[in-house]
Amino acid sequence: MSIIQILFYLLSGLAVFAALMVLLSKNPVHSVLWLIVVFFAISGHYILLNAQFLAIVNLIVYAGAIMVLFLFVIMLMNLNAATEPNQHIWMKLAGVIAGGCFLVMLVSLASQAGDMANKTVLMKEGNIGLIKELGKILFNEFVIPFELTSVLFLSAMVGAVVLGKKDNTQ
């Protein structure tokens, strides 16, 4: 086993474990902190896939900005284990059944997949994740979607103003 494969298994194990801990922690703040660990592990995978830019963006945007926002919201709302709503047993059962069906589907699909066997990393293969390539693709092949995204942001901005502005006249 090469060093890369060891890293791969280490990061995968860490990601799965941290993801489980997100769900299992009683304290929402701990969940958020575990989520940050998940993002770090995923960023590690990106680096293994030779996508450094994506790895850094993932850290800055998700682990940095969004998780801080999450923490703020949780602390502002003062959520803790005691205020967790008591869910109905049938709700839990329905959730387990639905999630279980999805798991069975994914596992059965994965077990049929010959094309996924023995594939772990793409270290030093391809340069698609590098920032130079990303820029080229973004402004050549995907320039139309890129420009149209501006409409999306514009409408979100209009929305934020509409919802956030004080109605003085009413």
């Binding site: 997949a113 999306l152 409408s155 103003v161 509409v162």
Partner: protein
Amino acid sequence: MNAIIFSALWGVVMMFSGIATQNRKTITGLSILGLVLLLGINCLHAYGIWVIKMDTKGAMHFDSIGLFFNAIAFFATLLYVVLSGKDIENTGVHAAEYYALIFFVLTGVSILTAFNGLLMLFLGIEIMTIPLYILTGADKRNLKSNEASLKYFLMGSFSTGIMLMGIALIYGATGKFGIAGGVSLAPSTGLSVRPSFLEVGGMILLFVSMCFKVSAAPFHFWTPDVYDGAPAVFTSFMATIVKSAGFFAFIKLFDAHTAVLGDSWNILLPFVILITLLIGNITAVFQQSVKRMLAYSSIAQAGFMLFALYGNNDLAKEGILLYAFSYSLATIGIFAVLIKLKDYSLDGFNGLATEYPFLAFSTTICLLSLAGIPLTGGFFAKYYMLSSAIKAGGIFWLVIAAVLLAAVSVYYYFRVIQAMYFKTGAPSFNQPITKAFQWALFGVAVMIILLGLFPTLLLNFFYF
């Protein structure tokens, strides 16, 4: 490209119109002008007279059916603004912004009718739904509106996450965003070339999230609350134009992909159709509020539109155009009346016919069309859907079930008619019913009847 660019630009124009003028009539007039121009520019594209050409690198493909659907959506929006423009103005203080958001939604609709890849599908769906989250919460002082908006936002974001996961899996399997279905990059080691497990899983996730967007059961739970909580004017918009556009995208997306799913598709889809029809129709029977009843009825209508997905032939494509148009007309008509009423419950309609017989007549036509009574547009819409499914074969039992459930739907639509004609009462209105409004609604009723007599009138435009 014409419609996409123009609708986005006019959205910006509407935004700035709020600075230039505080007169709400002017703003509504400006948006009507914009919609007429948009319709014209789209027709110029459809007939090839003036086309903004742009190298989209295969991200988009403009075909006549998509452009024609655009025309239907823009025309329905035009009718909607003409009928309910006053109510949009009175929902809050930001009339110009609401119109801007409506134009952005139309940008999303025109992307969805032309997408040629999953990336554009995603962008189209998001551009279409994000303004809706805001329009749902437009009535800021109303707690129900706030709740509906938040609920819609959270659940919508969740289903978007599922869609993204599906897109990621499909991209992983095929290495491209195309919707052509293509052979997988890495075929499995089996004897024959079979789609990669990632692609199958991705398609199922896409199916789930699209079902959510068009409110097909079992992913319909948000619909009644959101449609009920949102200001009625915007419910009307959401339940008609946006929903039909979602269906159009759904059918376009799965057009070439049903082969990937193989036999499981023939189990999955009939199941979804059946429970959508069942839940929509049966629950609608028990509703006391007409607004909520229309929300369930829109689920039931979604069940019918899903037949086009099953049929997946020329008849289905003609049918979805017809269905989108007749359903939008009828629902916009009923909502236009409902918005004016103070009381949204069934009793609110009591005695409408004695006070405004002309108005009640037009409303009755709309309700009959939704129920699918012959001589109205709704009949042929349902007829096309069911015959496309029969032509595709295999689910005759489901067609019979659909006809039976359509009969159930007659019951709850007729309860409104009964309230209007056979019960006494004095309906109270938020706004005076003007002559112009009555004639506009009558115009809608005439269109519905024309569609019911000559459905080819609409379809001939398509083949022109």
